[in-house]
Symmetry: D2
Subunit: 373 residues, 4 copies
């Protein structure tokens, strides 16, 4: 075996210099940058108040009209920890959140994109989303899918403003260089189904033409997920369904696969009973939360985020988190996440917080700070 | 409907300023940054000469010894277009390539990581990779899997240096904040199978304990893919198997799923007969190529990359590419890619180059430039 | 090679005699009994008039009461071609059909069995079937599943008699020596779901507990299949959906698999427009038909079976068949079959009748004959 | 409610008579014939001595030659309990067993059928089976598949007689009226693969053409299963793999599905160490056993079946059974069964024998009786 100690400092420096000039690198020096012992990321948690977001969204109703002045009228949540890297519209490294406003009579025209999207209805009713020509009407608390690359449009047939949250996997698709967008050449995609179809929508999944070949999978045969059903199921969960980390939690699924409703974006509604305080854990997947009902706080890596009805907050990847309901009513947290992606790629793992009885010591309390340039 | 024109310039500026202060954004201004009409990325193509890479790798054999001075002895390819963003070890946005050297008698100890890895043997024989204790011996041209999170180690029982290419999905796992690494507590993972097991390796997949439950999928029951079989199959392909864009091409698969051998990294061997010139196309997935045999060039987005035996080059995502064999023998290109990821996430799409008979006009020829700081 | 002609007639006879004595056989003599060139069977077609069947069923309403005098009150169809072999209750070699009557206020108690069952509602409304405690209410034309080994019971809350057809795979399960039956120890299985659950039944398939593992498959998440949806779909089929052999045909499916609603019994509704005359074909799977609406005839292996609303008829395996609507309205044929079994076992095949323009020459007309012993 | 007691005996008799005349039946009288509490069948156990069977098979070598005088030269096992019902060639209600002899230089021509077949080599070597043109050479103890509807032929290139057992699902296919047979129009199906292909046969499953679509499933990518591998695996099983009912048992599987090697016929090799005595259980599936090595006995529903090397015996469905090795060496039982059919149709269930410490009381000992007519 050749001796390993023939090199002078000068020779070594020359070796590394030359290596670099040839656009090569020495793994024995850089392995720690590439393969870390645990997930490493730049995503910080953040929280936005509903009142603030709603005000800006409502004002935007006077600034422009969808379909005329812009494709959509949305105020989006910008994670300040990611903006310096030019990651515009990033809530987490994979997920985007926007608050969309539609006024009575307005119409957001049909388009499709490779980003998957889910909607969660915050305020108002009487609007619908049409996916490939199939309409689903909105009511507060409903969740609606527009799976990746499906044509979708929104129209408001009601009388009061409608606000909803859009959740897209903008960051994921950007990281993978896979964005694709197309506008429908007509204003509106042809309506495929009778208006009442939406009501018994899934019935469509229970029949086929005799010689037709049906492959369960993408997209879900269900586009619209009603709040009342979710609440019914949460109310019928028993003590043993009460997960130490996630409390009472229902996931929206694609009945044809048994997996998440959207193939890339997971969606969950959690209920915390008054006084409930979960244990902390962390996992590879990240999430964006919307407080559907109630008040309380969430501790993320030792920082306390106080929330009330309507607020939004970011759960970064690989961050310890626990939730507390401080109110006198049940609290409901709706959230969406990138867990299906991590699971499809065999990259989801996590662990419980073991110390201090499983609950973190609070080291600071979050206070939104104005982003001064 | 409220008039849309009540705002003065000053009011508007204030609106946008305040929005920004609250870490909110106006989608109607920024949509084009988030959802692009086509994939957008910063990955540029590049090419490294085998002679250069081999020299640096061989010298590193005198600098350090694996298992003593470092985990592994590898010279890696650094895409210069990505280093400014701190993306150390990135060949493409998702894929890494390194050239590993093992000298006779040396041993690279057992570890595992969430990154998937494939190896392609470039020079030498007599070394083996053990995956979860199962040995696969190396010969030039073989491909060996070490699926994500499997224990793996390398040992050289032969007499001449062995060089192989490591392909990992470093960039993907980093983008998804999902890196995890663990060293085996002993030097070597216990050998599970008799030495000759590797020879009839897959036989292990054809039997099970009566009450055992076998789920086909991860990892592949095959770890070692022999060159002779690939050549045999390429030589028995017919004219109608000759793909206009990919020539004669064989993919390495996981026999239990029919999909790619590794669940996240695709692996392909292409053969170009003398004079063959493929048509150009592009696709979301990116790739790293190694010239196994032959000489020729590849045109990437109008730039000509001339190659010969042993060279490596980068195919960025969404870049038109066509291959030409200028030699008098068959040329063989081995490549690995992130196509399985794009397919699992329903993000793979592409198109053919339509103009000029399907072949690009060459606008420049690549020349490696020294990377001066 | 030994000469093959050393044997005397006597020696040969002795060989075969001795073989038989040892309970051995000579395949070269018997292969044709075991492996036939085409399917061979003893099932003959037959037809029953609704009026006859209904009368007997209605009279049985005065003979006994379910839950008291018997498990169920059903008049079943006995294929006369199979009774001599002791195949009691066989409609085809695999399928059974019975007509069940439930009078107002009556109740058929909970039990389960390894036989799969489907119900098709012929007359009346206000009764329900509860499957594992989940109620589905009946209306004329609906199809209801009680998958194998699920607890099921029926109750009539309405005011007029309800008649429905039961379809079970009695013959299949008997041939496979796999019958298993259990009575629920209480009268009624506990109701799991609120009464209105049945209305939006499938909603249950669109959510799960966060940590629950859902495997799509058995049983279908849908138990009740409404007539209006089937008619809607049949009415929206286009000319190109008009199958030459099966006319306009909708299959009831399990939305979680894309396959047949029940895993072993296929269910189909066919529509023939006035004057429609399909082409003949045959296939391994057998079926039992119920004329839901209309009048016409079916030709089975050259024999004409005239039918009108309410009638039942047998389609044996491997028998050419074609359907004709002779009425002035659309005709609707509901049928169930053993095709899912044949497909799961890779035993389904068939062929079209090629001669005479694809339509058989009628050689006789079926006339029910009294079964005199 | 109408009174239930208006009927005179005479009226009732008339009702039932008329019902029968119309080919209808009263379920309340006949349910017990259709839906039994437990499996009911006519299959009795039986045992054949190897010496007897071998003698008849060897003599048949002088009676006829395959490919000239007959399709195949096979002496089959006829279960005497089934012959009265005309069930020629039935070992169980679903399975057939035959002993095939091929002499040096002989050839059994190519054909295919809807029956699935497995072969187990009992004596000799040098013959091969070609499946769709791919040859697998035989050695004692090997198992070879010829999946349903694949072309297959046998040829003997060695010097001594070869004997093997054929296992087909003759009874199953007959019960389902699904037999289909075709002779290849030439003598021999074209050889697809080089002769040495068989040696590294499965390698073919680890590669595909780049644009090819591979669906794992039928048929298995492996046709030949070598004895040495099975023995190796049995010898490396630990005490905890020792199943109380099945001893040390290895199942032959299809590596692309993880399920049974053939899709309808299960195949198992069991090892009993000297003195081993399993506990009794029963199950819906039936089996045919061949004693590969050793001596002992099996108790089936209280009857003792003594066996030694080479013998064959029948395990009927739903029959308690336990195995005992009385020899001084390991005993090896090869068996094939209809379990995959029962599992695909959700009809497999079973139970352990609970009394007497799990082992039956022997009430009789089997003695083959000459079958006198
Ligand atoms: Fe959109
Ligand atoms: Fe969590
Ligand atoms: Fe590694
Ligand atoms: Fe390409
Ligand atoms: Fe029943
Ligand atoms: Fe048909
Ligand atoms: Fe055969
Ligand atoms: Fe058993």
């Amino acid at each position: 075996m050749v001796s390993k100690h023939l090199f002078t400092k000068k020779e070594l420096d020359a070796y590394y210099d030359n290596l670099k000039k040839e656009n090569l690198g020495a793994l024995w020096k850089d392995l720690g940058h590439m393969v870390t012992k645990e997930p490493v990321h730049d995503v910080k948690p953040y929280l936005w108040k509903w009142k603030t977001v709603r005000d800006f969204a409502l004002q935007s109703g006077q600034l422009l009209e969808p379909g005329k002045d812009a494709e959509r009228r949305v105020v989006y949540l910008q994670n300040p920890s990611l903006i310096d890297k030019g990651l515009i519209g990033f809530g987490t490294h994979t997920l985007y959140a926007g608050i969309q406003l539609l006024l009575p009579g307005e119409y957001a025209p049909s388009h499709r994109h490779s980003q998957a999207a889910i909607r969660f209805i915050i305020e108002g009713e009487g609007a619908y989303t049409a996916v490939n020509g199939e309409k689903t009407y909105m009511e507060r608390g409903d969740m609606i899918l527009t799976p990746a690359w499906t044509w979708h449009e929104h129209k408001h047939e009601g009388t009061e403003p409608v606000f909803w949250m859009d959740g897209l996997d903008v960051g994921l698709v950007k990281s993978l260089a896979a964005s694709y967008f197309e506008q429908f050449k007509e204003e509106s995609y042809p309506a495929l189904a009778p208006e009442e179809y939406a009501i018994e929508q899934y019935r469509g999944g229970a029949y086929k033409k005799l010689n037709e070949k049906i492959e369960p999978g993408y997209p879900s045969p269900v586009y619209g997920y009603k709040l009342d059903r979710v609440k019914y199921l949460l109310d019928h969960m028993t003590e043993e369904d009460n997960d130490p980390y996630e409390a009472y939690a229902i996931e929206y699924i694609n009945p044809s696969t048994g997996g998440s409703a959207d193939g890339r974006i997971g969606t969950v509604m959690q209920k915390l009973v008054p006084g409930q305080h979960t244990k902390a854990h962390r996992h590879v997947h990240s999430a964006i939360y919307h407080v559907f009902e109630g008040q309380g706080y969430t501790v993320i890596d030792g920082q306390k985020f106080e929330w009330e009805k309507g607020d939004f907050f970011i759960l970064p990847p690989w961050s310890y988190h626990e939730h507390v309901n401080t109110g006198e009513e049940d609290a409901y947290l709706f959230s969406y996440n990138d867990k299906p992606v991590m699971e499809k790629l065999d990259l989801e793992f996590g662990n419980a917080y073991e110390e201090n009885g499983g609950q973190q010591i609070i080291t600071s309390t979050f206070k939104a700070e104005a982003n001064e340039e």
